[in-house]
């Protein structure tokens, strides 16, 4: 009687080229899209590198009003959602709009746009009593976090539950998870789900500088993001979006849709420890994995690939390695686990959805994407991180995990053809 949830469409805007095909090429070839920041002058910053999207909104047929008054992350999402809906073959004109929902995540929302106009109204930080006359009259679109989901809902005629999820760096996983619950519980038949962020702005770069979370390898940006490698020294900022079309299984079957895979389970917990710190034990992330496995009625040994959070900070990669070992036991050593952040950077709230998209594509191609730049092992990170080269492998069940400021620990489990079905 449980409603199953299928993935029937994918859309991606990621560093290294827009579109799902370009994204998968980058991952399959193990290329990195990290480079010196070009979106603004990063002089004076500790970390001056990022994985940027070469994205011109005018190339994608977006309405001028949307281009002029919304932030870059909203435009990424609109484009990625367009690709996902086309890919799914869903005819939004004939769907019951009240049964179509939207669930999109973003960690920092419209901060890039907000900073842009802040500079104008404050005369470059000179006054607290800002002058409203210098601001864009539609600045509320950057201020309200629900602009993201609202714009996408509007474009695709969704009239069901529409929500923006903002749980820091697990926003993308959680947005997919909330969408999964929405369909499972019968509140919608289709949910356009994913996440988007465009955090490559002075204020966001500066705030991660202040806590030394980002890599200062400015002289070698291509090799700066080094998850699990013993030389790792922080994450490299990214940007982008990924959107999936999630659909009730029978609904997808009835319209003869291509089904990539199913969402088998999702869980999230808080670590209740520290806003940025992690314990070395990975207890809460392990529990999220365990719960997702339980929901799918799967044994830990049935996991064929773990798509890691793998941000490349000292503490994260150890925490995560511990968590996966705690859940998968000795099977962890036989399970490839890679971080695509080595190639596309860490796009905060967006990355969870981009990583779920990577998992869907890994299942499709039966190939595990690599961890680029991985060369020197850290004795405390002793799993198989798929160094530098993608690896063909029989994949049925794959897991994507994430961890975020605020203590969020989330896991999404995907089951491909040949995986279990409840």
């Amino acid at each position: 009687m449980t409603r199953r949830v299928a993935v029937t469409g994918i859309g991606v805007v990621a560093p290294g080229g827009a579109g799902t095909a370009a994204f998968w090429d980058l991952l399959a070839q193990g290329r990195t899209a990290t480079r010196g920041i070009t979106l603004f002058d990063p002089a004076g910053l500790r970390s001056r590198i990022a994985a940027e999207c070469d994205f011109d909104p005018y190339d994608h047929g977006l309405p001028v009003d949307l281009i002029e008054h919304t932030d870059r992350y909203v435009q990424f999402a609109a484009v990625a959602a367009g690709e996902a809906v086309r890919d799914s073959g869903l005819d939004t004109a004939t769907e019951d709009p009240w049964r179509v929902g939207v669930s999109l995540g973003s960690a920092v929302g419209g901060t890039t746009r907000l900073e842009h106009d802040y500079v104008l109204v404050s005369e470059r930080g000179q006054r607290w009593d800002v002058d409203h006359r210098a601001a864009d009259p539609k600045l509320h679109l950057a201020f309200s976090p629900s602009t993201l989901a609202a714009v996408v809902a509007e474009r695709f005629g969704a009239r069901g539950p529409v929500q923006t999820v903002s749980t820091g760096c697990t926003s993308g996983l959680d947005a997919v998870g909330y969408a999964f619950h929405t369909i499972e519980e019968g509140r919608a038949d289709v949910v356009i789900a994913g996440a988007s962020d465009s955090p490559i702005s002075p204020i966001t770069m500066a705030c991660f500088d202040a806590i030394k979370a980002t890599s200062p390898d400015n002289d070698d940006p291509e090799h700066a993001s080094k998850p699990f490698d013993n030389r790792r020294n922080g994450f490299v900022m990214g940007e982008g979006a990924a959107v999936l079309v999630l659909e009730e299984y029978e609904h997808a079957r009835a319209r003869d849709a291509h089904i990539y895979c199913e969402i088998g389970g999702y869980a999230t917990y808080g670590n209740a420890y520290h806003m940025t710190g992690l314990t070395g034990e990975g207890l809460e992330m392990a529990r999220a994995i365990d719960t997702a496995l339980d929901q799918a009625r799967l044994d830990p040994t049935s996991i064929d690939y773990v798509n890691a959070h793998g941000s490349g900070t000292r503490q994260n990669d150890r925490h995560e390695t511990a968590a996966v070992k705690r859940s998968l036991g000795s099977h962890a050593y036989d399970t490839p686990m890679s971080s695509i952040k080595s190639m596309v950077g860490h796009s905060l709230g967006a990355i969870g959805a981009i990583e779920v998209a990577a998992c869907v594509l890994a299942l499709k191609h039966q190939v595990v994407p690599p961890t680029a730049n991985y060369e020197i092992p850290d004795p405390e990170c002793d799993l198989d991180y798929v160094p530098r080269t993608a690896r063909p492998r029989k994949l049925r069940n794959v897991l994507s995990v994430g961890s975020g400021f605020g203590g969020f620990q989330s896991a999404v489990l995907l089951t491909g053809p040949g995986g279990r079905t409840r």
């Binding site: 202040a210 806590i211 030394k212 520290h274 806003m275 940025t276 710190g277």
Partner: protein
């Protein structure tokens, strides 16, 4: 010649300003081995104190500064670093 020496009093002020933690300077001086964590200063708070000192003196402090566990350790390290300027 400006004095660069960091005192317990100044550290107490910085703890208030950068981490929001109120502590009596004399208490800090009497028990300088009480860990920052016990005083309510977390890792971000200490990073804020280091950043403030760096901005004030126009120098970068060694990365060990932000890893100091106690006020005693921190004051010794900072004063050593500032004396070398």
């Amino acid at each position: 010649m400006i004095t660069t020496e960091l005192t317990f009093g100044e550290l107490a002020t910085l703890m208030k300003q950068s981490a929001g933690v109120t502590v009596d300077p004399s208490q800090l001086e009497d028990a300088p081995e009480t860990p920052f964590s016990g005083l309510g200063v977390d890792s971000l708070g200490l990073l804020g104190i280091v950043g403030e000192l760096e901005n004030r003196h126009g120098v970068a402090l060694p990365t060990d500064a932000e890893r100091c566990k106690t006020p005693a350790e921190f004051i010794a390290l900072v004063n050593n670093a500032l004396a070398g300027v």
